[in-house]
Amino acid sequence: MKDVKIQVNDLSLYYGEKKALKEISMQVPANKVTALIGPSGCGKSTFLRCINRMNDLIPSVSITGQMLVEGVDIYDKNVDVVNIRKKIGMVFQKSNPFPKSIYENVIYGSRINGITDKRELDEIVETSLRQAAIWDELKDRLGDSALGLSGGQQQRLCIARTLAVNPDIILMDEPASALDPISTSKIEELVHELKEKYTILIVTHNMQQAARVSDHTAFFYMGELIEMGKTDAIFTKPAKKQTEDYITGRFG
């Protein structure tokens, strides 16, 4: 695989005694969309959260193995976790705008990073909202509260907020599962456009969504990576029977 963005070597994760991820090894290609699929509790979201060290916030978690982002082991002692999360943005299932204006939501990260120049901040807002395909809808109401937006708009605002700090990688944890079909389709279209600039990993329960938006698909089951391959191959002729059973709905 050329241009590997993330290299995972024998990564295991424990919640206390319980092994939730079992020796995961995979390569995530740059500027592609990789979908993580599998039944509830299979470890796909846990794995996603390993990529920007979100699991650090859970006290009982311990991790072995390597997670190399552009060749750097992000679990190395000398690595600054704040820098990692700047480079690796995250979008969650439930949109979580701050109770502030649309404008302030987008530039929240930039302000923390010390940017104060009004013109620069204006530019960040416009660029980020354009990239999130929501500029035309919001440009005349940037001062309005973000909480007044629809669910789909809120989610795209959250994506804009993620893009505003200029990450390399975007992690999406079921970003469209609470949205109507039109908003879902807008998010999916956006994912297609964003992969030109970013490497995207998306966790989804919606198999058709994984098939539509991703270039590669990884199937997790009970903490193991069962199979990873090009999405068209996974959905037409998966190599493993477990994958076939899962995607055809005959699991268990």
């Binding site: 959905f235 037409t236 002729k237 998966p238 995607i247 055809t248």
Partner: protein, 220 residues
């Protein structure tokens, strides 16, 4: 059984049914070809209309499954193959009817049929038809693979016999009309065998996830 599995099962049953009817048509056409009398073919026409109805029904079931179930992997291949198989079966039925129609106009045919051993080719076509239905039913790799050499042998034999019939027509102008019709019947038999081979290719795709149509016989 889930609702989806019931739908797939229904589709499988209808494919088996259209396959059995197409096989019946082939048998009837061979019987007519080899018998002394000119068959009326009323029964065959009734069956033909049943085949047409099943062909439409298969389209409808597949359309419904695509729209409502979004099939993937082996399910997707099964439905794609079903659409093609149904189409091939319908054409086999049409060719069988054409043989019966042509049969009526082959005067002195029994001399020619006996002389050129048309019965052997016709029986081989019946065998390839049976094997074709069997390969869909069993999905057995050996049965699937057995269809291709049978079809290949039929094609070779048809070419040879057509050459001999043409030579006969060159020397005996009395047999030109029946000889020409017999050549057409042989081409129909060859087409039936070719459709059977196509069906075996779709079953191969269904089972092995590999498209082998248009591949050379030796590569199959």
């Amino acid at each position: 059984m889930t609702h989806f599995e019931i739908e797939l099962d229904k589709l499988k049953n209808v494919i088996q049914k259209i396959g059995a009817l197409a096989e019946n048509q082939v048998n009837e056409s061979v019987k007519a070809l080899l018998s002394e009398s000119v068959a009326e073919g009323k029964e065959v026409k009734k069956v033909e209309s049943k085949i047409d109805k099943l062909d439409v029904k298969i389209d409808e079931i597949c359309q419904r499954i695509f729209a409502l179930q979004q099939p993937v992997a082996s399910d997707l291949r099964f439905i794609m193959a079903s659409l093609q198989i149904s189409n091939e079966m319908e054409r086999i039925g049409d060719l069988a009817i054409s043989i019966i129609k042509k049969n009526k106009s082959i005067k002195e045919k029994h001399d020619l049929i006996a002389k050129f051993d048309i019965a052997t080719i016709a029986r081989e076509v019946e065998v390839v038809m049976v094997k074709t239905n069997e390969c869909f039913l069993t999905r057995d790799s050996e049965v699937i693979s057995s269809v291709f050499p049978l079809n290949y042998a039929i094609k070779a034999k048809v070419d040879e016999v057509i050459g001999a019939i043409i030579n006969e027509m060159k020397t005996n102008s009395k047999v030109v009309v029946s000889g020409t019709n017999l050549v057409l019947v042989l081409k129909h038999l060859e087409r039936i065998s070719e459709h059977c081979s196509n069906i075996a290719e779709y079953v191969y795709f269904m089972v092995h996830a590999k498209i082998i149509k248009h591949e050379k016989f030796e590569d199959k």
